[in-house]
Structure formats: structure tokens, C-alpha cells
């Protein structure tokens, strides 16, 4: 799941300060789940914009915002509104916002900040779990990702910075390597930690990436 949060309303208003007629889009998947761009959030934003004297011509929860062909089809339903609008506010992840911007001619403004790929721990609680590094290491780390959960993305074990098992960067977080150690110990697989891992091949991190399975 792509976790996003709504931008502060002041920032949204500042970005459309010269615009009068607005269209809002959201997303039925991730942004709905993390309450940054579902129907409820769109209607709330609509109300605020109208209080500020803006005219909201229409809105749509895209299903989903990151599917180019579907977005192109769905946006046709807002054709007349888009002709008149001078701004579109997108409440989806950065991917969805770019897809929408590709499809429409009206300037698109992001209404959210995209934060991370994460797990839904429980309703309303999300935790970053994957950095999309292109070279998954979970096989030998007890299913805990050191690339994501260690802020230094260390691959050979912990730095000396942890205190009481907590990370030096944020003491709310458990040290990834202490977690990996505990898990592997429990699994009787501590030997997984003995091999010296070569430096990460960052050629796999070169962006932007493209994949075709056609």
C-alpha cells in the first residue's frame, strides 16, 4: 500500500490562490484506505474550498488513480467541468497525481504528500515496510527488511548507535538489526548473519525504472 497524507490546507489554498473553479479527484485504493483521498476527504475539501469562495465544479474518486487507461476513460465523464476549471486538485499518491496530470490539460495540484510503501498495522496505523530496492534481501533476514527498517540501510549488522534496542535516528523505532538478530535466534538461524555481504549494487536503484511484461 502507498501511504499518503493530506497536505496542510494552507499549502493547498496557497497553490490555487489565483484559481476560482476547481475539480477534485481522489483514489479508490490506497488514498481511500489511509484517508487522504477517498470520497469523505474529497467532500470535506470541497466544503473548505467553497467556504473560501472557490467553485467546485465536480469531483471523482478514480478507480484507481494510477491506472492510465482507466483514468483517461473516467476523466471523460468530467469533460465539461474540466473545460471550465482552472485547477484540478488530486488527492492520491504522487503516482496517481502524475497519471491525472498526463490525462488533463488543466493545471494539476497535489493535495497530498506521498510518504512510503507500508503495511496497514491496524485501522489508521501504517508502518513503512519496503523501499522498492529491486533486490529483496528478506530471505536471510527473518522477513525483516534492513534496507527499510534501518535508516542507514546497513546490510552487515547493526551500527553502534542503538540504545536499549532503539534506533539512534528515532528512539520510537526498534533497531532493525536487533529485531533481525532476535528473529533469527528464535529461528535458530543466526549463521545467516555470519556471511560478509558485498556492498549494495546501486545500479538497481537507478531511477526512473520501467518494466514491461508484454
Amino acid at each position: 500500500m502507498i501511504i499518503s497524507e493530506q497536505k496542510p490546507i494552507e499549502e493547498i489554498l496557497e497553490s490555487i490562490k489565483d484559481c476560482k473553479k476547481v475539480v477534485i479527484t481522489g483514489c479508490s485504493l490506497c488514498a481511500t484506505t489511509c484517508k487522504s483521498g477517498g470520497e469523505e476527504e474529497i467532500l470535506k475539501l470541497k466544503e473548505i474550498l467553497e467556504e473560501q469562495g472557490k467553485e467546485v465544479l465536480g469531483y471523482k474518486v478514480l478507480d484507481p488513480a494510477c491506472n492510465y487507461l482507466k483514468v483517461r476513460k473516467d476523466m471523460k465523464k468530467l469533460k465539461s467541468e474540466l473545460k471550465e476549471a482552472d485547477a484540478l486538485i488530486s488527492l492520491s499518491c504522487g503516482d496517481g497525481t502524475q497519471t491525472v496530470a498526463k490525462v488533463v490539460k488543466v493545471p494539476v495540484y497535489p493535495g497530498t504528500n506521498t510518504l512510503f510503501i507500508g503495511e496497514i498495522e491496524r485501522v489508521g496505523k501504517f508502518e513503512e515496510a519496503c523501499r522498492a530496492c529491486g533486490d529483496c534481501q528478506l530471505a536471510w533476514t527473518g522477513g525483516i527488511c534492513p534496507i527499510t527498517k534501518c535508516p542507514k540501510s546497513l546490510i552487515n549488522g547493526p551500527c553502534g548507535g542503538a540504545m536499549d534496542g532503539k534506533c539512534e535516528v528515532n528512539s520510537d523505532n526498534d533497531c532493525a538489526w536487533v529485531m533481525i538478530y532476535e528473529k533469527l535466534k528464535e529461528m535458530d538461524k543466526l549463521e545467516n548473519l555470519e556471511e560478509v555481504k558485498p556492498p549494495t549494487d546501486y545500479q538497481k536503484w537507478v531511477h526512473p525504472s520501467k518494466v514491461s511484461i508484454r
Binding site: 535508516p151 542507514k152 540501510s153 546497513l154 546490510i155 552487515n156 549488522g157 547493526p158 551500527c159 553502534g160 548507535g161 542503538a162 540504545m163 536499549d164 534496542g165 539512534e168 535516528v169 538489526w177 536487533v178 538478530y181 532476535e182 543466526l190 548473519l193 555470519e194 560478509v196 555481504k197 558485498p198 556492498p199 549494495t200 546501486y202
Partner: protein
């Protein structure tokens, strides 16, 4: 061969002291401290943007200290340089004849004075050790030939007061595999910690320098216990500092006593003194501990 290596391999009790590069271009204090260290230590260990705080580089400072007649130990972290810059730094050290290199992962940028900076960590401390070992073989990490190979004596860090300690030892073994020949410990205060650590590491092929931090006050001890990873000052030492009339003198006395006890019980192969801004105290601690390098004693 580096003096530090010679001393450690000959079984002499090694003495190194930490020196921090200045923040700014005035190096007069650094030169003054260098003169105080002369003839008293086997090496001066120069921090690499310690605590992620921007200052003069370790390499430039090592070069100055070498000119002053001291044996430098270059600290090199993975925080600020990718593998191209790291290898370049190592080759530059080779050009200057700086052989001792202490390889570290480095404190994260968010704990330093430029928290907005992008942290690099292209190589962790093991990656830096591997890079240095590769350069010594006459090649770079990509396999390209060097016109001349540098010579290094490589070291790394270890924290004996770490929970769970087992994972520190596992990583220590990996550092040895990657080329580390000596280890410098985080500051230790409890002799029992070093007794346990010596026992756990007695079969490892490496030399160990125990980290010594002279206390300046009871408050400093409490602050470190709370905020510095791997530091554990026992209550009885805090009590001693609290009751002492001359705090500075007491801190020096405690450090010297620990050094003597470590040496007597053969719990380490040398000491690394981190005076943290009070480098002028290093010779006083060494006097109190009755330690003089043989090269100076015989001179």
C-alpha cells in the same frame, strides 16, 4: 610499516589519543595539542565529522599532524561519501603516507548539526574495510588497476557494553574477515565489562584498544549514561566524581587507574584516550598511569 602496527604486533601496550579537527580554519590549537602529544602516544586518531558535525576533514588534519611528527590514524565513515569518494580518500591517505585507517559506519546526519543533509551510507564500515583491502591489492572496487597500491593498517570499532552483545561479536568477526586488524572500543568504565569482552574475543585475530574517556564531572557521566550509546558509567564512579573536591583531577585519576588495571590484567592490547575537547589532559593521564611509549623512553 606503521608505528601503531609495529607496536601492537610487537606486543607493546599501545597508546592512542583522539583529536577532533577544528571548526574553522584556525589550526593553532590543534598544533599546540599536537606538541603536547609528541613523544607520549603511538598514534593520534582523527575523527571524521564526529557526531555528524561539519568541520575540517580528517584527512587534512591527519596530514597536519603528520607534519608535526605524530603518527595519524585516519577515521573514515560511510555517512558522507559514496564508494568513489571513499576510495579517493583512501588513495589520498596513501599519497600522504597515512597508513592507519579506522573504518566506521558513522553517526546518522539527523543527530548532527546539518540534519537536512542527505546521508550516503553507500558503504558500511565493512564495505570501507573491503574497499581498503582491495586497494592494497592494487585494484579498485571495480577491478581497475592502480599505478601503485597504498599500504594500510586497518581498524574498526566495537562496543563491549551492548545489548545483545552477541551481534556485536558476530559483526566484529565480519570486520576481521574484511581486513580489520585492530579494534577501538567505545569508552569503557567498568573493568568487569572488559573482563567479559576479553574472554569472548580472546580467540579472534585482532588487537584491542580499550576506549578511555576521562570524566569531567558527575553530570557528564550521567549525561553519557542517558544519551551516548554503549556508555555505562557505574554508580560508584559517579559517586566518586560527586564527592571529589577537584573534579578534573578525580576524572584523570579514575581514567589512569582503569588504564593500569586493564594493563595489569592484560584485558586489552592498548588504550585509546578520548579526552573530548580536553586533549591537554592526555599527557597528565599518561603520567598518572605511568605510561610512556618505548620509542620515547629510549630516545
Amino acid at each position: 610499516m606503521s608505528l601503531l602496527r609495529e607496536v601492537l604486533e610487537n606486543g607493546e601496550f599501545a597508546i592512542t589519543a583522539e583529536m577532533a579537527p577544528p571548526k574553522g580554519t584556525d589550526i593553532s590549537h590543534l598544533r599546540k595539542c599536537a606538541q603536547l602529544m609528541k613523544g607520549r602516544v603511538h598514534g593520534v586518531n582523527v575523527t571524521d565529522f564526529q557526531s555528524a558535525v561539519m568541520r575540517v576533514t580528517s584527512l587534512a588534519t591527519c596530514k597536519i599532524l603528520k607534519e608535526e611528527g605524530l603518527e595519524p590514524v585516519l577515521q573514515l565513515t560511510g555517512r558522507d561519501r559514496n564508494r568513489i569518494a571513499t576510495q579517493g580518500e583512501l588513495l589520498s591517505a596513501g599519497v600522504f603516507g597515512i597508513e592507519n585507517v579506522l573504518c566506521l559506519t558513522g553517526d546518522h546526519t539527523v543527530v548532527g548539526d546539518h540534519p537536512q543533509a542527505k546521508p550516503v551510507y553507500d558503504l558500511d564500515c565493512i564495505g570501507i574495510l573491503q574497499a581498503a583491502t582491495t586497494l592494497m591489492d592494487g585494484k579498485d572496487m571495480a577491478g581497475n588497476e592502480l599505478n601503485k597500491a597504498p599500504e594500510f593498517y586497518l581498524g574498526a570499532c566495537v562496543t563491549p557494553e551492548y545489548e545483545p552483545l552477541e551481534i556485536q561479536i558476530i559483526k566484529m568477526k565480519k570486520k576481521i574477515k574484511a581486513g580489520a586488524r585492530f579494534f577501538q572500543t567505545q569508552g569503557v568504565f567498568d573493568i568487569e565489562t572488559m573482563r567479559k569482552f576479553r574472554e569472548l574475543t580472546k580467540d579472534l585475530d585482532c588487537k584491542i584498544l580499550a576506549g578511555i574517556i576521562p570524566l569531567k564531572s558527575a553530570g557528564m557521566a550521567k549525561f553519557m549514561n542517558k544519551n551516548v550509546p554503549g556508555i555505562n558509567v557505574p554508580d560508584k564512579l559517579i559517586e566518586r566524581m560527586k564527592n571529589a573536591e577537584d573534579k578534573k583531577k578525580e576524572g584523570i585519576k579514575i581514567a589512569a587507574e582503569l588504564i593500569q588495571q586493564l594493563k595489569e590484567e592484560n584485558l586489552c592490547d592498548g588504550v585509546h584516550i578520548m579526552a573530548i575537547g580536553a586533549e591537554e589532559n592526555v599527557p597528565v593521564i599518561l603520567d598518572e598511569a605511568n605510561l610512556t611509549p618505548s620509542y620515547a623512553a629510549n630516545a
